[in-house]
Symmetry: C3
């Protein structure tokens, strides 16, 4: 395995790399910067643990070459097309497919040029850091991306993509990834994961149990999905008990294929702890497609508690990603479908919302529930105090819009004094942009070191502790939180 985040990746293959600032994201003060530098040196080259993300398992099972720079970097990345849309570029002109199959821009070079012409928009954003890092460290690109260098960089990246060293499995190794979890529907047969294991990546690329489509009564295909869940688990999912048993069996199926965690994307953090007969009636109402919005919400809340109970039984770590208003623009959803950059965070409440679940299982030994929020105001007010007392609760890293230098620093400053670091879960890259994985871990490691350096510099911790904490934030806490 090559060095990843600290040293250059392609140097031995392609000669000297362009200059990324070796002190990037470190504190400006010289003494504090030196401390950060020393801390970072000890963890920069640690392997990458990616316990939550959205890589496509087909990449690793099929190991096909990525098609071209535009479809690798631009077309699938909502961080990127979102920003271009905000300045008047149409999604179709970036090659984003239409829901009705109407034609969109097909030429990857044209798409890439549009991206490059607008690259200044990303100044000051983490996307800029990720792209620069990926182009420089993964592809050996030496020039800054812009309208004038678009073609040259396109050609350079395209050429590399045709080489065997740029196939997914080769990159996986070069990136130094030790563990990567994908996110998979409960109904997925995990055949890609079977082939990944056959290819010898078993235990390094694993699935995650994400049952939303069979849990959310407002999902368009809820009834069908529940029926299908019954079929593939040989359970009568027409009954509440059978439905729960089906989840149990399906979790076991995932666990046998390496899964260590489940994941739940809900609009709110609401949980319920209903009497079984009440829950059963609610389930039947949902299944009959008769549930009001309130009932659907209650059912999702009940299912979080049920999933937590199953985690007590089977030891899987439970992740909750809550608080996104999905598909804010009706027109975009109609034209291009879901997940088109129009997901907007909303104010989220945890203290009352999590209480039913915490009353049910919050003190269970060994249970691990990781909470992610898009509402930073809850970090110091609600989540750090909750995670700082409930043994089952762990703070997920800053998510989505907050997976950034300022966001990570605010997270540590707002949670560290109440929850410490030992009730947090290290870093998630949470990405579907494969080539940004080293960049994202690099940013996170640097900002964590910058934060630790600030604590050392003003006498809050000793240097020997900071070394330990840097390692724990980078790998140990991840392994503990995800049972790796």
């Amino acid at each position: 395995m090559l060095a990843v985040t600290g040293a250059s990746l392609t140097e031995e293959m392609y000669g000297p790399m362009p200059e990324l600032d070796p002190d990037r994201l470190f504190p400006p003060d010289a003494r504090t910067r030196e401390i950060a530098r020393e801390l970072f040196a000890t963890i920069a080259n640690r392997p990458i643990l990616s316990p939550h993300g959205h890589c496509d398992p087909a990449w690793f099972s099929e190991n096909a070459a990525f098609s071209d720079p535009a479809h690798l970097f631009v077309v699938p990345d909502h961080y990127i097309f979102r920003m271009l849309v905000s300045q008047g570029v149409a999604l179709a002109d970036l090659g984003v497919p239409r829901a009705d199959g109407a034609p969109v821009e097909q030429d990857p070079r044209t798409i890439w040029r549009r991206f490059a012409e607008h690259y200044h928009l990303f100044r000051g954003t983490p996307t800029r850091l990720w792209i620069d890092h990926a182009l420089a460290e993964v592809f050996g690109v030496a020039a800054p991306l812009g309208a004038d260098t678009a073609d040259e960089i396109y050609d350079q990246v395209a050429a590399r993509l045709s080489e065997p060293e740029y196939r997914p499995r080769a990159l996986f190794d070069r990136f130094g990834i030790e563990f990567l979890a994908t996110t998979d529907s409960a109904l997925d047969d995990l055949s890609h994961h079977d082939r990944i294991r056959e290819a010898g990546l078993g235990g390094r690329v694993v699935p995650t149990y994400r049952p939303d489509a069979a849990v959310d009564p407002e999902h368009g295909a809820f009834g069908e999905n529940v029926a299908q869940l019954g079929e593939i688990t040989d359970c009568d999912t027409g009954s509440w008990d059978g439905y729960l048993e089906a989840h149990r069996r399906r979790r076991a199926y995932f666990r046998e294929r390496g899964a260590t965690a489940t994941d739940h994307g809900h609009p709110t953090a609401r949980t319920e702890n209903l009497d079984p007969d009440v829950a059963e009636r609610l389930f039947r109402t949902c299944l009959a497609n008769d549930a009001s919005a309130e009932e659907a919400d209650a059912f999702r809340g009940q299912m979080l508690t049920e999933m937590a109970r199953m985690s007590v039984e089977d030891g899987m770590t439970m992740q909750m990603h809550v608080g996104s208003h999905r598909n804010h623009s009706d027109e975009i959803r109609r034209l291009h479908g879901r997940d088109m950059g129009f997901d907007i965070p909303v104010r989220t409440e945890f203290v009352h919302a999590l209480r039913p679940m915490l009353d049910a299982v919050g003190l269970e030994p060994g249970l691990k529930m990781i909470v992610f929020t898009l509402d930073e105001t809850t970090f110091s007010r609600e989540l750090a105090p909750l995670a700082g007392v409930y043994p089952s609760l762990i703070l997920g890293p800053p998510w989505w819009f907050f997976d950034s230098p300022e966001g990570i620093m605010r997270f540590r400053q707002m949670t560290g004094e109440t929850a410490g670091i030992y009730n947090t879960a290290g870093f998630n890259d949470d990405t579907r942009a494969f080539c940004s994985i080293p960049a994202r871990h690099d940013v996170s490691r640097r900002v964590d070191c910058a934060w630790l350096a600030s604590l050392v510099a003003d006498g809050r911790i000793r240097m020997d502790e900071a070394y330990e904490m840097a390692g724990e934030l980078t790998t140990d806490l991840v392994k503990k939180a995800y049972g790796i």
Copy 2:
């Protein structure tokens, strides 16, 4: 035009100035400070663009001398009397008029002394920076303001105010103002603006269309105002269509007099997108003074969408200033009327609130809607994600209580990673304190440069980009957002 924010204003007239720290508001770290200094040097002397504020157009149409230091600095400035009230000084003792015409302090020197005695209260506030800058740079005052220097400084400022160089138009030129928009009632005949054009300031001092008094059913004179709007536009504002047409015509009237923008001060960000017949019924209910609080709120929300539609038609930039609980103290309102420093920000929600309007027009090419908030928690959670994807949405600068060094820095740190700078609108001084205009732009420019310097110092952007961005934040983005 003299140099404004970087160099001294009165030096050539009055000799050496007192020492304002030339590095004020720059980062403490020496290297980062040097970067900020270099960036600031390139934009310090750019002309001032003031696209939103509350200057009295009569100043420029009549060009009369300002009466005295107290009535220039203290009596009309809610930032100042608010703070003195908080420490037990009565509004009447500061010369603030009573609603019932009862006597209040008339002697400007006495008012000024009261202000000076309490000047320490402003330590650490932006008001302190603005006043110090105005006294030093505009009036050549060399001593710090305080009880012991009150009379001396009063005399010095009073003497200057009698000179022709301190008349409004002369100061306007000395301040280097290239563009200044006032805020004007839809019912205003803009006669001052006509005289301003005759005086040759046309296109440099322009009105803004602010129709709140004829849009808010809870405004005491809503019915009269709607009727008057009908009269002056020759429309039947008793009908919904006529009412909308009256707004269209009145916007055109403003536009002909140089207006490039409208402005809307609402208690919440609520918008509606009602069917025309539902909207019409709601309008009639409001006009009949029969609207419930909920109906009045819905009507205001509908009118935001209507105004956005008209902006699509006529190209005027739309501004929304939402989230102030006005006139919090009943007693103060009874004694002294509105806008007496008792306006308090409230929690504000944008994601659901703006959705009806954004569904209606949010993807319209060319539409520009600038949103201002008094709830900083919405910056990273709601507004930056919204502005970072909707092409029509632009983030207004930090407003009112947040138009300050810490507030501006927080704004950039909380929005810059998601919306970048290109979905923001540069700076507004938003002031009725004329002599503070150079100071406010100076503060904003310095803090923006401090922020950019921090990005350069830790390798997030290159210096050549920072130079570009400094200029864009200072002028280019303002011109683009306001169609100047």
Copy 3:
């Protein structure tokens, strides 16, 4: 009185102390750090004013030796056992009593070892700073606490506790405490305070009137408490007028024993200003145990306004601590009772909530109401604007989870620009951990100086002002806010 926060406490008794970083919590930049150092030097040794806290008056009336290190540091401190619980340690294993009297760990050395083994959990938290400071400065401990030093440090602290110099009154003197207020039930006979006065500490240790148990209709013993309040004041508390008169008399009883303030711990900031007959009916409903949750909440809100009215009469400062969801875990409450670390902050609203009370008395000359919040989002949005205009309103220092380096800095940065420092109340240690008092004041003074230094460093205030402000933050504003 010995030097307290700046210099070593035990040096003259026990020889050289371990090294706490003399520059701890100062800014990293060398120039700013030097400014902070100079400011701190002028206030480090000022006496301690502790106008709100939870010291047990029995300590000072009885002056018995503290029993052992575990029962001094660990068992009563919810900051400490909360964090250990979050990592799976049971409260019973830390010696925390069971509600049913079931056995818990009794051996102090065992408890201390468990604490020491988990001491790394506190890295980056204020608890770590407080404990380190107390061990080093109060007990002369030279080694870092950890599993390997647990016994040695236990023995050292235990040995000291048996010495007369470590009795409460001796420590009180050594800590340089000039004024300390305890928090006492309205029903308390204050006999400990009588004995404290006899011991010559009168005026230095005083009670605070905390009537919650006789004000909150949802307190289990509300009816009994109201009856008892009637008995001890010789009032008919079965009537509304008699009930209010009983409070008046009881406040006088406290005032005669040195109390300068009242304190009110409510779930929300809700206030009411009801007509007397409506209030009377509400009181009777509550007394009859017939109140709905809404009515109970309204009654608490009405009582805040009544207490404020009494403060206008008798001059006592009123404190409001609002926004904690108490006893979040039912199971912990059942097993161990109240106040077991499971109190979690909730979102809090002040602008509408305080309005009835502010309408009633907010402009009263001389009235002082100090507001504390656990919702940091209200600082810049609601509380600083309110305190920055209402003469009666004062901002309490950062409370509980926010009484920390980052919390204090955020408080100043978020309130200082709108409310200045003169509408704030200096520091509260608010602790029941006696030996942490010097540490907590040390942290607060250092962070305030760090903040002031940042204002000097970037030219926002002059150094002569910063010296003044440092002193005001440390003592003058405390005295003014609490009428000391």
